[in-house]
């Protein structure tokens, strides 16, 4: 007690010292900071979460949801029949964002191809998973919005980019995805999915990482601005009205032929039936005349 008193007395001797005010201010700030940190909501800490924490969170999620097929360290699992889940070393954050963000991963069931479905993880969880997978080896990162949008270009430049994107689309994409982006078949039950209503970021990532059957169009092969042009073209076709009327699925002549038969011939034969079933209507009762043909 005396010791405390003595030291307090020694401290109090400095209470009017030139540095005292500064020191108290500093102590106060530290205290409030600590208390705030202890009681503030969890999300507020996220923003400041370090990469290591994110990776750690991603790893935990990975062990629960992905490791069964992709291995505990993302090294891939080989089944007796060949690959079970491929190695994720070097696929990059973009691949995770595409596969998990479109609901393709985690896969519902093994099959020829992972199907897009409602996504299972929240955006933060996908970020964490992406950070973890990205930490396994260098790979393409999640693109920034400036990479896949035409923002910042003049109207004329945007229009030119869309035209160019259309030509690039016809050259590189339609062989599998169809001229209208409505998708097409691939051998052995695989298929190129429809591109209608797909988010710009996901289209960009798909080109960048080449998911499933798709070839990789790396940024060296197809420059980011070309990718952005293709995306802009696709979005512009979604915005343009169907000039010709109902598009019947945008599948080409097969559905057109079906409509020609079902709607066209179907209704015309129906009309023929209708005409033939209506006999002559006249005031006089006319019996069918028998024409003895000369």
């Amino acid at each position: 007690m005396r010791l405390l008193n003595r030291s307090a007395g020694r401290l109090s001797r400095h209470r009017r010292g030139p540095l005292a005010g500064l020191l108290v201010l500093l102590l106060g700030l530290i205290l409030t900071g600590t208390v705030y940190a202890a009681f503030s909501p969890a999300s507020a800490t996220k923003a400041g979460k370090s990469d290591e924490e994110l990776i750690q969170q991603g790893r935990e999620l990975f062990l629960v949801g992905c490791a069964f097929c992709h291995g505990q360290n993302g090294e891939g699992v080989k089944s007796s029949k060949g690959q079970y889940g491929p190695s994720l070393v070097g696929v990059g954050a973009a691949a995770v964002d595409f596969q998990v963000g479109t609901g393709r991963m985690p896969m519902q069931q093994p099959g020829q191809q992972a199907l897009a479905k409602k996504k299972v993880y929240t955006d933060e969880e996908i970020q964490a998973l992406a950070a973890y997978v990205a930490s396994l080896g260098p790979g393409p990162a999640i693109p920034d919005e400036s990479e896949y949008s035409l923002e910042g270009l003049s109207e004329e430049e945007q229009r030119e980019a869309i035209t160019k994107g259309g030509q690039l689309f016809l050259t590189n994409c339609t062989a599998c995805h169809n001229f209208d982006g409505s998708g097409g078949a691939m051998p052995n039950g695989k298929f190129a999915p429809s591109l209608k209503g797909v988010e710009k970021r996901h289209i960009f990532e798909a080109m960048l990482t080449g998911p499933q059957q798709m070839p990789v169009f790396s940024n060296d092969v197809l420059h980011p601005e070309d990718k952005a042009a293709i995306i802009a073209y696709l979005k512009s076709t979604e915005d343009t009205p169907e000039y010709g009327g109902f598009g019947m699925g945008g599948l080409g002549p097969v559905s057109e032929g079906m409509f020609a038969w079902l709607v066209g011939i179907g209704s015309l034969v129906g009309f023929a039936f209708w005409i033939a079933s209506h006999t002559v209507r006249s005031k006089k009762k006319t019996a069918p005349t028998e024409g003895t043909e000369a």
Binding site: T174, A185, E293
Partner: protein, 584 residues
């Protein structure tokens, strides 16, 4: 001289005033004016009253005819703006996504028709839809003619003309499909190029001749244009004219029935009834085509982009009428032979050249084949019900199943995407199915027809089912059958009995084989196969016998009249007005 004197062409009297209508009908005046110069009245008198029989299936050919008229009308409109040139231009029209892209003039003018010519897109779409309907209607019409035996003597040549019309229609459609020079047309032409090149030895020469050099060259669009707007339409018009002249000359066939014979036609006259019906039908066909052209997008060329041999799109299919050729190509295994540095592409030659020719030959030769087997040299103006020619009906059903399967095989990628199927599995399935399914369909349809013949026979011999259930004194239940009306009995029996051809003995009494006995045996075999199992109509004696039997039963029951069980008064043989159930 008064002007009235001039109205009579020849003066037959020197009297003052010739007889003239009090008030001249202006239409009559015009008609008279024309008749005096053209002499059409004699021709018209006969033909305006020409009688046509009334049945919905007789109007199927009309759909094709009116579609052709729509094609001519819309085609003329399109030809005013279309530029059949493969010269390269830079597109500067209204469609944003292609502005500034280099393309052929043909494609650019198609885009202009679609976006910058008022009503152009509607006309383009109507033209395309009516082309699809034209060929579809011709096929449906052909099926009707085939199923009812309307191709028999004297109409075999008209059948052949019809077959040629379908062939020309398909070629015309393909030429039109290739004209816009978009990615899809170019891909179609590439396949046509492949088909031509698959001709052994001559293939490459023919291809270079066709395209004026290596594919695609810059000659093919102008050449196809002349074929599309001049050559084939001219042939089509001529053949349609011949087809209809023969129709008038032969008179229309009719369904058998009371009062209808091989020597008359029962129906309504051309004017006013058929002129109204057929004219009205034209407007309906035009209206349906216009609705489809206005509401349903067909061949959106702007989405395909200009043709470039290095590009292709998923869902590249021909229009439906080429679907079977596409299907044959898609399911054919890749067989090739290499001989002295030459490749014989059986995988393209067989499905692309051989099979279509074989198919066409079968179609064109059927009337002659059938006439040879039956040996029937008589004229036939009364139609047959499909069930009364079971083998023929089954043959058509089998052909339809092949057609449908090949058509589906031609769209295998679309099926795979829509129904989540494996593309390879569809192809393997089709390779087997095109051989198995038609056989099954043939057997099934044939037996089905024969069963229907049996049911007709039962109606004739035992009467129709009245729906009246009678309880016998023993407690058994029977359904009352009553004889069909005379008219329907006549209609059911208005057909000829099939005669199975018998080749006779192979060798005569001295053991010398007869000339042509092998061919006769083939004919006998076919004849047995076609007619042996058919149910022939009962003879008059058989019907008499059956009715007699029914009357006997009735006689037996008659004894119970008055004291039969309650309800027997409703057995369908007596008028039941005022009848009541006895109350006891």
């Amino acid at each position: 001289m008064s002007s009235e004197n001039l109205t009579s062409s020849v003066a037959d009297t020197n009297a003052g005033e010739p007889a003239a209508a009090k008030k001249g009908n202006p239409a009559g005046k015009v008609a008279n004016w024309a008749d005096e110069r053209l002499g059409l009245a004699t021709l018209a008198k006969k033909n305006l009253r020409k009688v046509f029989p009334d049945h919905w299936s007789f109007m199927l050919g009309e759909i094709a005819l009116w579609s052709f008229v729509v094609l001519l009308l819309t085609g003329v409109f399109l030809s005013l703006w279309f530029k059949p040139s493969m010269a390269e231009v830079e597109y500067m029209g209204s469609y944003d996504q292609l502005r500034g892209v280099p393309m052929s003039e043909a494609y650019a003018s198609t885009l202009d028709i679609s976006f910058d010519v008022r009503g152009g897109l509607l006309m383009r779409q109507m033209h395309h839809w009516s082309a699809m309907l034209f060929i579809a209607a011709m096929l449906v019409h052909m099926m009707r003619v085939f199923l009812t035996g309307a191709f028999r003597k004297p109409r075999e040549l008209n059948w052949v003309i019809g077959g040629l019309l379908i062939l020309l229609g398909i070629l015309e459609g393909f030429a039109g499909y290739s004209l816009p020079d978009d990615l899809l047309s170019g891909t179609g032409l590439r396949i046509a190029d492949g088909l031509v090149k698959a001709t052994p030895v001559l293939g490459t020469y023919m291809s270079f001749f066709m395209f004026g050099g290596e594919f695609p060259g810059d000659d093919i669009i102008p050449r196809l244009y002349i074929v599309h707007v001049l050559l084939i339409p001219g042939l089509l018009l001529a053949l349609i004219g011949a087809h209809m002249l023969l129709l008038v000359f032969h008179k229309h066939t009719q369904w058998p029935g009371p009062g209808r014979t091989e020597k008359n036609v029962v129906g309504y006259p051309m004017l006013p009834v058929y002129a109204a019906k057929a004219g009205g039908f034209f407007f309906i066909v035009f209206g349906v085509t216009a609705l489809m052209g206005g509401l349903l997008s067909i061949n959106p060329v702007w989405k395909y982009g200009p043709y470039d041999p290095s590009k292709v799109t998923a869902g590249s299919q021909p229009d439906w009428y080429m679907g079977i050729a596409e299907g044959l190509l898609r399911i054919m295994p890749g067989i090739e032979t290499h001989l002295w540095g030459h490749t014989l592409s059986w995988n393209v030659f067989i499905p692309g050249q051989l099979m279509p020719i074989v198919l066409l030959m079968i179609v064109l030769s059927w009337p002659f084949l059938e006439a040879w087997v039956t040996g029937d040299k008589r004229e036939h103006h009364l139609l047959q019900r499909p069930r009364n020619a079971p083998t023929r009906t089954a043959f058509l059903a089998a052909m339809m199943s092949i057609y449908g399967l090949l058509w589906a095989a031609g769209g295998n990628d679309i099926l795979a995407v829509i129904f989540h199927l494996n593309l390879n599995h569809i192809t393997y399935f089709m390779r087997v199915a095109v051989f198995v399914v038609p056989v099954l369909v043939f057997i099934l349809t044939r037996r089905w027809c024969i069963s229907l013949q049996r049911s007709d026979e039962a109606r004739l011999l035992h009467g129709y089912e009245t729906g009246i259930i009678m309880r016998s004194p023993e407690g058994g239940y029977t359904e009352r059958h009553l004889p069909v009306s005379e008219a329907s009995a006549y209609t059911l029996t208005a057909r000829q009995r099939d005669q199975v051809y018998d080749a006779g003995a192979d060798a005569d009494a001295n053991g010398v084989s007869r000339d042509g006995s092998r061919i006769a045996r083939i004919r006998a075999r076919l004849s047995r196969g076609m007619f042996e199992n058919n149910v022939q109509k009962p003879t008059a004696a058989e019907i008499e016998d059956a009715h007699h039997h029914a009357d006997e039963v009735h006689e037996l029951e008659h004894a119970m009249e008055g004291h039969s069980a309650d309800g027997h008064q409703f057995d369908g043989r007596h008028p039941v007005d005022g009848e009541e159930l006895r109350n006891h």
